[in-house]
């Protein structure tokens, strides 16, 4: 069985054999940095030999691994190349395979504030036009648009979109039903429709519909809702059910942040420390600035609580690109907090400037001072 260990190529093998061996190894790996590295290697070999079909195939695999592994910049880079090659020679490539990934591409554009909103909308319009030309339902385009509006806090546009989305027929290019259910839940929550969101969650749960993300990433959306409604046992049950799985994939940095928020609210400091560590472990491979904003936004209240508990230092392994000094595996809580706050605010400012609203800055969190509780080191 191919493993990630057997990658020294046979000197007598052709470049095609080498790429096939790399693809076989990639197939056997979870969506991870190692899988992405293997696919990048395969792409470079294919490009060296100017083998467009093979390069296209490898890039499609990489787009999937990147989209499901938390690397939106790679989705943008390699999907653009695939679109260009498809447009040059549409008969040479599978249309539906490309169009399926358009949804991921659309979502990926929303991960970086330097990509302007008109650019995002133009790209989505391109997707819409392609679907129309192929006489396909606009449903995949509309769901992608809904995700963008939800993320950007464009509530009026979201309200206007809901009826259009309800009328559009699903197609084979639409996300799975579970994902659509989860999208509707997010839309309801964004519009402040908690009861409708809870109802939609119940329907999703009763339907038994599941996929990689659902309901794993659905329940964390409601921790706050349940706590505010006095249903702490429901929140506890779903936290316990989903926490371990969320910790395993860097793509789930946002749900992880929701768990951190919950753990801070119930004052489970041990698990909150774990959530923080996992978040930083994922940081390198979760390159979406949007996702990082969410993580920092929940990290700050946690660090504030530690400060109020007179915790000065914490044990944490920080990624290399975080300019906070550590010594003997520890860093200062206030130093980390200062960096996190400044970085979060900067990302938030960029997104708000791009989106033309205060969606991010309005949700930025920090805690008011509270009485001294005790001295611990987390």
């Amino acid at each position: 069985m191919a493993t990630a260990e057997n990658i020294e190529p046979d000197p007598g093998a052709s470049y095609i054999d080498e790429i096939d061996a790399l693809l076989a190894q990639a197939y056997d790996l979870p969506n991870s940095a190692a899988k992405i590295a293997i696919l990048e290697q395969a792409i470079r070999i294919a490009d060296t030999y100017n083998d467009i079909p093979l390069s296209y195939k490898c890039r499609q695999e990489l787009v999937s691994a990147a989209a499901l592994g938390g690397r939106p910049e790679l989705v943008l880079i390699h999907f653009s190349w695939c679109v260009a090659k498809y447009d040059e020679s549409p008969d040479s490539f599978d249309r539906d395979e490309l169009y399926w990934r358009f949804k991921w591409f659309g979502i990926a554009t929303n991960s970086f504030p330097t990509i302007q909103l008109p650019q995002v909308m133009n790209l989505l319009d391109d997707f819409k036009d392609r679907l129309q030309k192929s006489q396909l339902s606009p449903h995949p385009y509309l769901t992608t648009l809904a995700r963008v509006y939800t993320d950007c806090g464009l509530l009026d546009e979201l309200r206007d979109l809901l009826p259009r989305l309800a009328l559009a027929a699903r197609s084979h290019l639409s996300d799975c039903e579970a994902c659509i259910d989860q999208l509707l839940i997010k839309m309801h929550l964004k519009l402040g429709q908690e009861d409708e969101a809870l109802q939609a969650l119940k329907e999703l749960s009763d339907s038994g519909r599941v996929c990689v993300e659902v309901p794993l990433c659905s329940y964390p959306l409601f921790f706050n809702v349940w706590l505010n409604r006095g249903q702490s046992e429901v929140a506890a049950k779903h936290h316990k059910k989903t926490f371990a799985a969320i910790c395993r994939n860097p793509k789930f940095l946002v749900p992880l942040s929701q768990h951190l928020e919950y753990l801070v609210a119930i004052e489970d400091w041990t698990k909150a420390a774990k959530a923080m560590r996992v978040g930083f472990d994922h940081w390198r491979n979760a390159t979406s600035l949007r996702d990082r904003w969410y993580f920092l936004n929940e990290l700050i209240p946690y660090l504030d609580k530690l400060t109020y508990r007179n915790t000065e230092f914490i044990r944490v392994q920080l990624p290399e690109d975080i300019p906070v000094p550590t010594q003997n595996g520890r860093c200062g809580v206030s130093v980390l907090r200062a960096w996190a706050s400044s970085h979060r605010d900067e990302i938030g400012r960029q997104f708000d400037a791009r989106n033309g609203n205060d969606h991010y800055s309005r949700r930025s969190k920090s805690l008011l001072p509270s009485p001294h509780i005790g001295t611990t080191e987390a």
Binding site: A4, D28, A37, R44, E73, S80, D87, L123, K237
Partner: protein, 608 residues
């Protein structure tokens, strides 16, 4: 005005319901055996609640009369049914005798949902149930047909307390009523049931129960137990295993064993576990009972207190299952830790076979990390070594995070005596980073291009003076390609230049490549993305001052020749690093070759 009756009842189309069950709920018609065994088991359990000394027996008889469709009977000595219970439970879909009246869940019964008997319609033209209740009364016969009709009569058959189900085979399902098939299915689904299951064929009968389930063995002979565990695993999974880990969990009241696979496990395609609930097989395709990192094992377990799903082919995901999973994980971790203490050679063999899975485990669990990290092998410039072996040779644990990067720098690093670890495999970089985090005194870190350049020998003051013009022209020539140049002394001397690229640089190159081919819509988006990750230099070219050609170049004053040569070194180094050329680099290659050829031709014209 029309008056609506508010007390209507739902009409059930039985044939439609059977179709629904057979095509959407049950995995195949063979599950009828499972359903019958379940009902028999539950009936016996119910009887034993008041008559503890009754020994349960299930007897299945298959009759093949010439010229007729096969028939089958399954008889149990369970609690039986009275006439009113027959009307109530056999004729009402969803009504199960196994649910408590207050709606609570039973703890001893396997079946709960009251649809199991219907599965027999997948294989039988009609179902006849003859039953005599422990409560007394006459023998009752119930005959049900797939069109939804049924009859209940008093039966003349003299039977003991219990129930007998008769089936007449449907056309096309004859294979399911062959004796060998019935035996196989009974063993498969009910082999662990505590009651005797006999398959009769005329005068002969055979026992379907699995002999001596190892966790029920009553012996202190550890070798005998171990042997039995291993042979049991071989029977169940039809393969041999490296070792066995007995499993127990209070949550779910689980007993069982996890078998260490004798071949390397995939990180994606998990081994399947076999799960029984109360001795009845629920699934042989389970992937949820063990923690995700236990990829190197496959388990067979029996749970007395976990719940199946409605279709009874999977375990219901609830808190009990989760707690059970945690406890089983503890069993496996304890096994590894004990191996490390008492059987290190066995653990070393396990590491050899299951390296990927154990890396995953070490990343996930701190205790296992400490146990395993010194044993895990890594690919290094000095061959395959463990961390202690590597640190015995080098003072720092330097690593690169892609296999390609390792290939690029390994020959040069080796020639310099610099040790580098290939962290391009799944979890390797995380393990090394964690090692550095936990061992403050260790110098551990990824080696970037800057750091690698610093590790190579500087030029002497004299060499710097001699190469000043070369250095200046090299920087100027490659700046448009965002390539930083440096002169260093390194081995092997045959290598004139080394091209290195950081992770960020690789992304920038890929972006530029995509921009080249994209239309303006996509190209603009990539341009905007580039603003997010701006770096001054994308790559680095290290010119080797020990290389004779580079040294010669340093003596020249002809700037044009120097620039052309630098461009050619750049392209050559990129190709050696398996970097595809962009269009401007292709043009560089073409023009550079032409210039050098021209220069050679001019020289030979001058010196014929």
């Amino acid at each position: 005005m029309r008056i609506f009756n508010l007390n209507e009842k739902f009409q059930v189309h039985l044939q439609g319901l059977i179709d629904l069950l057979s095509n959407h709920l049950y995995s195949g018609p063979e599950v009828f055996i499972r359903e019958l065994l379940q009902n028999a088991q539950d009936a016996i359990t119910a009887r034993q609640q008041s008559e503890r000394d009754v020994e349960g027996l299930v007897r299945i008889e298959v009759i093949h009369a010439p010229g007729q469709m096969p028939t089958m009977s399954i008889t149990d000595n369970g609690i039986g049914l009275t006439e009113s219970e027959v009307h109530r439970f056999l004729a009402t879909i969803g009504e199960s005798s196994k649910r408590l009246q207050n709606g609570g869940g039973p703890t001893d019964f396997i079946g709960r949902f009251g649809v199991g008997l219907l599965s027999c319609f997948m294989v039988s033209e009609e179902i006849i149930v003859v039953t005599r209740s422990i409560q007394g009364g006459e023998t009752v016969s119930w005959r049900g047909r797939p069109d939804g009709t049924y009859s209940v009569t008093k039966s003349d058959l003299e039977i003991d307390v219990g129930t007998r189900v008769y089936l007449t085979c449907r056309s096309g399902q004859e294979s399911l009523m062959k004796r060998e098939t019935v035996l196989k299915l009974c063993r498969f689904y009910g082999g662990m049931l505590p009651h005797r299951i006999e398959i009769c064929d005329g005068e002969h009968f055979e026992l379907a129960n699995i002999n001596s389930v190892p966790w029920h063995m009553k012996t202190n002979d550890s070798q005998e137990i171990s042997q039995r565990y291993l042979s049991f695993g071989e029977e169940i999974f039809e393969q041999t295993h490296l070792d066995v880990i007995p499993l127990t969990a209070k949550a779910g009241l689980v007993r069982g064993a996890a078998y260490v696979l004798s071949h390397s496990a995939s990180l994606v395609h998990r081994p399947r576990n076999r799960v029984y609930i109360k001795g009845m097989l629920i699934t042989d395709k389970d992937e949820s009972i063990l923690p995700p990192w236990a990829l190197f094992t496959q388990a067979v377990i029996n749970a007395e207190a976990l719940s199946p799903t409605a279709s009874r082919d999977a375990i219901y995901e609830d808190e009990s299952l989760e707690n059970c999973r945690v406890e089983l994980g503890v069993c496996i971790r304890k096994y590894l830790i004990n191996l490390a203490k008492n059987r290190p050679e066995k653990l070393a063999n396990l590491v050899r076979v299951h390296l990927s899975a154990l890396r995953a485990l070490a990343v996930e669990d701190d205790e296992c990390f400490e146990t395993l990290i010194s044993l895990l092998p890594f690919e290094t410039t000095d061959g395959t070594l463990t961390i202690p072996e590597f640190l015995a040779r080098h003072s720092a644990l330097l690593y690169v995070e892609s296999v390609d990067q390792f290939r690029q720098i390994a020959p040069v690093a080796t020639a310099q005596g610099i040790g580098v670890i290939n962290a391009g495999y799944v979890h390797t970089a995380e393990l090394l980073a964690r090692y550095g985090y936990l061992h403050d005194d260790a110098d551990v870190g990824p080696i970037d291009t800057e750091r690698f350049a610093q590790s190579l020998e500087d030029l002497t003051e004299n060499e710097e003076k001699q190469s000043h013009l070369l250095s200046h022209i090299a920087s100027k020539t490659l700046r448009p390609y965002r390539c930083k140049t440096e002169l260093r002394n390194f081995s092997p001397i045959e290598l004139p230049a080394l091209y290195t690229l950081d992770h960020a640089g690789q992304i920038m190159r890929s972006m530029e490549q995509s921009r080249e081919v994209s239309n303006s819509l996509y190209s603009d988006v990539l341009g905007s993305l580039m603003k997010q990750t701006s770096i001054p230099y994308v790559s680095q070219l290290l010119l080797n001052y020990r290389n004779p050609l580079v040294r010669k170049l340093a003596t020249l004053q002809n700037e044009k020749i120097i620039a052309t040569s630098i461009r050619m070194f750049y392209v050559q180094a990129m190709l050696l690093a398996h970097q595809p050329l962009k269009s401007d680099e292709m043009r560089l290659l073409t023009s550079g070759m032409q210039e050098l050829i021209q220069a050679t031709v001019d020289l030979s014209t001058f010196n014929p």
